[in-house]
């Protein structure tokens, strides 16, 4: 599900993220110098409490987005002025940028000023904005939130008065239930207690569903996730200094078999990575190819750079520092801990010792920020496929208290990034994005491992018109099409999920998991092996007792 299912925006991005489509603004005009734009609002949009949606709400929403406690602040940064000449027109002035529509206007949900004002009278006050638990949810989009318990479920109900007639949903209620564990989520799908499961199913679960459940359709689409190894290259950090030598990083990058890794860890549901932005991103760079797996070459690079092999099989730098590192990996992803071990094994074949340590995100964060005491961290990023802003992680000012976990410092990079954000047109943005990714590819602050596919599943005997063809899959946080389009299959529309008899509803339960404890191997295998062990143990005890 997406915020776009509940809130309206001025405009929405479409499924390919390139052009934008109308929402609250039925018409807009961008001035040729690309630094001012005017939006004309529909006049029949209303909030769920009956008040009309006006330009005042739009102005207020962009002011709230500009609050320092808002995660949207970077998006609205180019705006220099905003005003509403009348109740249904909004004018923006901004620093010239081609990304204005997609990264600024299509990023800010429009919230009800008359409701929020009671809680946030001053939109620039950070403290007012952070005490949000009491706000009633008043929205204007295709669905309303009619019930909600944090961490358990969200109940959406179709907004039958929605102004955008062709976008009125076909199902009355959609319930999003949260599971703690993907195995139980998939089991609930198999049992018919939910109708869809997302995000991030495991490969083995996809295979089981495909083989044994003809009513379940598994959808595999390019994902939003990148797994990488960050190398501590920060000149003022406290990691092993040999990692600041580009030749060492090149040797390490050549000593990983990306294809095999994607195959072993993700059973092929992942693509070996080269550039930073995943394959489903608008700014993915197809020209970059993963580093070749070549241990001979890697050894040769280290030999030529003067890293001599020590007696214990670990190389030593010319000034005596051994190439011996700690490779941290986040412990909530067991399959990635496995990946770290495999990588450490390849590295040991070029005289590099890496001790794998799995730690929780909080511990890893305290190791990295602000002192940069780590050598490597194996971690992931999720990035919006519509924009290249993940590249901001490598800006020099992001080290120590920012997003950077590599400590990369590069003036050219900083300049090119800022030029990209204010480029005159989208094809120029793409050129910059490719150039930035090329710099990262060659400088190797990150050794990118793979882009993981989105694996989601739903019951296609009960629902049709699921919108699958989009990065992130049918039920992702950016796919706003699915919930508006899905239709119950006629004959079964009353029998769906919940045991409702009072209200005639076709309910669609999709599920999001944040697995706290996850099992790596196939659950079926666990159960078969476990059952065999139990039987043997019981038999042994009984036989032994009988002999006595």
């Amino acid at each position: 599900m997406s915020t776009l299912d509940v809130y309206d925006y001025l405009i929405r991005y479409n499924s390919t993220f390139a052009p934008v489509v109308p929402d609250l603004a039925y018409k807009w005009y961008v001035y040729p110098n690309n630094s001012a734009a005017v939006f004309y609002l529909v006049k029949n949009a209303t909030w769920s409490d009956g008040y009309p949606v006006t330009a005042q709400d739009v102005v207020y929403s962009f002011e709230v987005a500009n609050n320092s406690a808002s995660r949207l602040q970077p998006n609205v940064e180019p705006i220099t002025a905003i005003y509403a000449p009348n109740n249904y027109t909004v004018i923006f002035h901004y620093r010239r940028t081609a990304l204005f529509l997609i990264n600024t206007i299509a990023a800010v949900p429009i919230v009800p000023k008359h409701v929020w004002e009671k809680y946030v009278p001053n939109p620039s006050n950070a403290t007012q904005l952070t005490n949000y638990q009491d706000y009633p949810v008043v929205s204007s989009g295709p669905f309303e939130v009619t019930n909600y318990v944090q961490g358990q479920y969200i109940e959406l109900t179709a907004n039958t008065h929605y102004f955008y007639k062709s976008r009125i949903p076909h199902v009355q209620h959609i319930i999003i239930q949260f599971f703690k564990d993907t195995n139980s989520m998939v089991a609930a799908l198999e049992a018919g207690q939910i109708d869809a499961a997302a995000p991030s199913l495991l490969p083995v679960q996809a295979q089981t569903l495909e083989q044994n459940y003809p009513n379940i359709k598994v959808v595999v689409e390019p994902g939003e996730e990148l797994w990488y190894i960050a190398v501590n290259v920060y000149p003022y950090g406290h990691g092993n200094p040999t990692l600041r030598d580009l030749r060492v990083r090149e040797a390490l990058a050549h000593a990983i078999n990306y294809t095999e890794l994607a195959q072993v860890i993700w059973k092929g549901y992942a693509t070996p990575a080269a550039g930073l932005l995943p394959i489903g991103n608008e700014y993915y760079d197809p020209n970059l190819k993963p580093y070749t797996f070549n241990l001979t070459l890697a050894n040769q690079i280290l030999n030529e750079a003067g890293y001599k092999m020590g007696a214990n099989g670990v190389r030593v730098s010319p000034n005596g520092t051994p190439l011996s590192y700690t490779l941290y990996v986040v412990s909530n992803a067991p399959e990635e801990v496995e990946a770290a071990n495999i990588i450490a094994n390849w590295w040991s074949q070029i005289g590099v010792q890496a001790k794998v340590e799995a730690v929780d995100a909080g511990t890893l964060a305290s190791i990295i920020w602000p002192n940069f005491t780590q050598d490597f961290d194996l971690w992931d990023w999720f990035s919006s496929p519509a924009v290249p802003t993940l590249l901001s992680v490598f800006l020099s000012n992001q080290t120590e208290t920012g997003t950077s976990d590599s400590g990369f410092q590069n003036k050219t990079y900083d300049r090119l990034y800022s030029e990209m954000m204010y480029a005159p047109n989208l094809s120029a943005v793409k050129e910059y994005a490719w150039e930035l990714q090329s710099i990262l590819y060659h400088e190797l602050p990150y050794i990118n491992l793979y882009y993981v596919d989105s694996i989601e599943a739903y019951n296609d005997k009960l629902f049709t018109n699921v919108f699958t063809n989009m990065t992130g899959g049918p039920f992702s946080d950016i796919n706003w099409y699915t919930f508006l389009q899905i239709q119950p299959v006629q004959s079964t529309s009353v029998v769906t999920t919940t045991q409702t008899s009072s209200t005639q509803t076709s309910s669609m339960t999709s599920s999001v998991s944040s697995s706290a404890v996850s099992v790596q191997t196939s659950p079926t295998m666990y159960i078969v092996v476990g059952a065999v062990v139990v039987i043997i143990v019981v038999a042994a005890i009984v036989l032994l007792a009988r002999r006595r």
Partner: protein
């Protein structure tokens, strides 16, 4: 008796104060804090980080934080959850109630079945019944909760028994009975799981104490004066053998407010066990402190009650 109870009460109080202090130290020892975790959010400026630190009181020296904490504990003001932005009691108590709904019946079932099986095994010692019960208990005791839960879910898939959550969502219940029946249906699988994995300990301990009691002189004396097996067991052995079990039951009852992380995770039961687990990952100190204090308080209280009951059942402990 009064002196004994007063002594136990004093010990309990000291234990509680020690727990209060330890709880504070323990969570400050965890590497990382809630603010460092936010560094990975895009474009958080140092001034915002300082503002957040000030808001959560994390910028004050540790001993000041400690004094504030002590003051708040005894005033019953347990702070605002960093993650939920709501008073800790508001976050904690519903989750604890959910856990009690799951754990209390499971624990009672496990105690009743476990103790019953233990008595049976002890009575029929060295027969196939004994061996059967013993191996059954051992296997259950050793079973991984997670595995058993998933196994039960797979068995239940075709039956229509709910496999996750606490109540059907999005359903309007016409009367409270329907609601209760719905919750009971959801309770079925997690309760079975918890009962199965915990009953083993009760039956093994019960069986062993029965065997111990049977070798006592008084048992031999009763036996030699012609008392029947059944009468000996019910009148003399079981009451004596129940003594050590009382302690274990008291501790088990005390931990029902602590939740059961694994079972709650498998069945997505919104209990306090998973809340604690998630709060550790989020470094949500106020919730963790609140949870640990309540758990400590309840465990200490139930142990105190057990001590007092024990003294009634076995007057000898008062003099030792």
């Amino acid at each position: 008796m009064g002196r004994y109870v007063a002594k136990r009460a004093a010990t309990s109080l000291i234990t509680f104060v020690a727990t209060v202090v330890l709880t504070f130290i323990l969570f400050r020892l965890l590497p990382g804090d809630p603010i460092t975790l936010l560094f990975r959010s895009p474009l958080l400026t140092p001034s915002e980080i300082n503002a957040l630190n000030a808001q959560f009181g994390l910028n004050k020296p540790l001993y000041v934080q400690f004094l504030i904490y002590i003051k708040n504990v005894f005033e019953g003001n347990w702070g605002i959850s960093f993650y939920y932005r709501a008073p800790v009691s508001q976050v904690l108590f519903p989750a604890m109630l959910n856990s009690v709904i799951l754990l209390l019946p499971s624990t009672i079932l496990a105690v009743v079945i476990g103790v019953g099986l233990g008595i049976l095994a002890g009575w029929k010692r060295n027969t196939m019944t004994d061996v059967g019960i013993l191996s059954f208990s051992l296997v259950l005791y050793a079973l991984p909760t997670f595995w058993l839960g998933i196994l039960l879910i797979m068995l239940a898939i075709k039956t229509g028994i709910p496999v996750s959550g606490m109540v059907s969502i999005g359903v309007t219940f016409s009367n409270p009975w329907q609601y209760i029946i719905n919750v009971l249906k959801h309770l079925f699988l997690p309760m079975i799981t918890l009962t199965l994995v915990t009953l083993g300990q009760f039956s093994i301990i019960m069986r062993n104490t029965i065997l111990n009691e049977l070798t006592e002189d008084y048992a031999l004396a009763a036996y030699s004066k012609g008392m029947s097996d059944r009468r000996l067991l019910i009148k003399h052995i079981v009451p004596n053998a129940l003594l050590p079990t009382v302690t274990i039951i008291a501790i088990s009852i005390g931990t029902v407010v602590a939740g059961a992380v694994l079972t709650e995770t498998v069945f997505s039961w919104p209990g306090v066990g998973t809340l604690i687990y998630d709060s550790i990952a989020r470094r949500d100190y106020p919730v963790l402190q609140g949870a640990f204090l309540i758990i400590a308080l309840v465990v200490i209280l139930s142990n105190f009650v057990a001590d007092v009951i024990y003294a009634f059942l076995d007057p000898r402990v008062k003099y030792s």
